[in-house]
Symmetry: C2
Subunit: 199 residues, 2 copies
């Protein structure tokens, strides 16, 4: 009765996953070729051989087709895998860096391209930043669990806010310097936060 693992989980769900991936692929390609705003949902749907109605069944908005990802669970796993003697800040830092380190070269390249698009197009950036508030809440929960505090504790919330803020600053910088090492930038930035923001 478990809803997810029925031995390759049934034809229906397999097909759905395949369609979804295809749509995202075509969308990214069209955005690259024509630009985000110049690409219509109708064009994406046509390229992926689905109807516009179906597009919106898979993705709630046009932004969503580019922004949807599953980094949060990866972050959770990486965080909880960190040794317990690390402080919450050391743990997120290590978790983020190692999560990126686990990515394939293809994944990294896609992430770079996505990040450039996202930070460049105002609509996308806005939606992405909005999504980050969820990640912020997630980080607060992780930090709360690790320190035995409540997620809405002032120190915990502030911690999560600072971590997300640093992430945003790194993402913005990385969009303008795509040849930089993202993991390195993030590691350095979170290191500075750990060191008390030396100036």
């Amino acid at each position: 009765m478990s809803p997810d693992d029925k031995r390759t989980m049934g034809l229906r769900e397999r097909k759905k996953a395949k369609t979804m991936a295809a749509v995202q692929m075509h969308a990214l390609r069209l955005f690259r070729e024509l630009g985000y705003n110049a690409t219509t949902v109708e064009q994406i749907a046509e390229a992926a051989e689905i109807s516009p109605s179906t597009f919106f069944r898979y993705f709630s908005t046009k932004e969503d087709v580019l922004l949807r990802d599953n980094y949060d669970p990866v972050l959770v796993d990486a965080f909880e895998a960190q040794p317990s003697h690390l402080s919450p800040l050391q743990a997120v830092r290590q978790a983020m860096v190692s999560a990126i380190g686990d990515m394939s070269a293809d994944e990294l390249a896609t992430m770079r391209e996505r990040n450039q698009l996202i930070m460049t197009v105002p609509e996308l950036r806005a939606a992405a930043l909005n999504n980050l508030t969820q990640t912020m809440q997630l980080i607060a929960e992780l930090a709360a669990k690790r320190t035995g505090r409540e997620p809405d504790d002032a120190a915990v919330r502030t911690f999560a806010g600072a971590v997300i803020g640093v992430n945003i600053s790194v993402m913005l910088y990385y969009a303008e310097h795509p040849d930089a090492d993202f993991a390195g930038l993030l590691d350095e930035a979170l290191g500075k936060l750990e060191a008390g923001l030396p100036l």
Copy 2:
């Protein structure tokens, strides 16, 4: 030949300012009465006695009518008014708190209502967070000037990111606890950042 101070600056510009304020007033009222999504630009325009075309000449988007403000220059002034023996972090902290302290009761009440709307409605929140990246850049410039570094220096960018992140976390909390003291929350949070994010 200065374009701004021509002794109450001419009828045209005075009228524009008045219209703009009226539109924002009616918009806020309608959002309160009907909700943001249920309010159409057409309704706002009608209430303010302008055409929809004119609405979009004043505000580039529907979100903009609620989000447009002039806090950034206020922040700049407050920051640069801080004594030079304060660290950049102490200076932003003091600047923000004192800028809020200078607001009238009416301004504070409007800010509270705006913040609740913004953080509650996803579209508004997204656009507001997007605007905050500009403020982040601004803070980086202020900190750079004060420390003699470049605005794209890693330490400076990270500093600005952390400050903005903390602001976001406070805004989110304040939206859910409107009876709290915003300046107090912000002061406390930035204090924790100054103290190295104790957990």
